[in-house]
Symmetry: C2
């Protein structure tokens, strides 16, 4: 699938078919994730693939923005200790979040190009999800990516026009004419 097509037509999906996601597609998604750039190549990321129904249900219960009944979710975590050791405070406090999000966007596009739907969830309780997934100190849950075969075709959400948000050389100087 063309990259612009994937970027343009990917939607956040909140209704899924029960069909399971084959492991080779999960692998494709994870391989896309780790191709994201990472500050100083620290690669502060960990991935917990959740497919056990009981675990999924527990995670859903502590995540208010978790819609639908997808058969899979992938929790992207950052390794704060690794990031601090290799990248200092900026590495630990900021770049972990940025790097994990860069990886997540690749995951969304790879999933979409594989016929899968996804939705990012951040509304979970960090404490609860760490408990459920036995995540140790020093590893921080960043973003949860729900994955499954879509059972809806959501319309694109409204976008702020580029004329409003793109500037030239300094803030306030419009880059595009109205």
């Amino acid at each position: 699938m063309d990259v612009f097509e994937a970027i343009k037509n990917r939607r956040s999906v909140r209704k899924y078919k029960p069909e399971l996601v084959p492991k080779d597609l999960v692998q494709k998604i994870l391989e896309a994730a780790v191709r994201a750039p990472s500050a100083s190549n620290i690669q502060p990321w960990n991935f917990i693939v959740i497919k056990d129904r009981k675990v999924l249900d527990m995670v859903r219960k502590i995540s208010p923005g978790y819609f639908g009944d997808a058969p899979l979710a992938i929790l992207v975590c950052s390794d704060k200790e690794r990031a601090y050791k290799l990248g200092g405070e900026l590495g630990r406090d900021y770049l972990t979040v940025a790097d994990c999000a860069l990886a997540v966007q690749n995951m969304l596009l790879a999933a979409y190009a594989s016929g899968l739907g996804t939705c990012i969830v951040k509304s979970f309780s960090s404490t609860a999800i760490k408990h459920i997934l036995e995540i140790p100190d020093g590893i921080e849950p960043e973003l949860l990516v729900i994955v499954g075969y879509p059972d809806q075709s959501p319309k694109p959400p409204l976008r702020r026009p580029l004329q409003e948000i793109a500037y030239l050389n300094r803030y306030g100087e419009k880059y595009f004419e109205k």
Copy 2:
């Protein structure tokens, strides 16, 4: 270009040709950026396209990790006030960073598929870049994306194997066999 090809072969470029980047390609990159998902569709992003040579040179001076002499850079900023108003503290403090990074990954892929090279820079002094680009309070510089025609073909950086970083249902339970 195929999305997996773009994800796999995009590199961080640190040496550029002097050739200017046409405005229609900048627009393609920005259109890709705003197709990223955004928590509650808040779209907390602003983009400052920097192509004035004097401004680029000033920004480069206060950004230790800024290599090469690209004719263009795009500073992705977050609108912290908008994010707080529409998304509360989580929106302002976390989701702005994540949303801007999701947008940046789309920018990198769109640029690569257009024959351009990119590199993310975060090493700038926020205070200094805000001063140079006349960025008001409430708007925060997140990531700087350098853009230009590549004058090098960097090798892929080493990746941590998925066997090390992917788990199943709980942290510590390997998802892939060695």
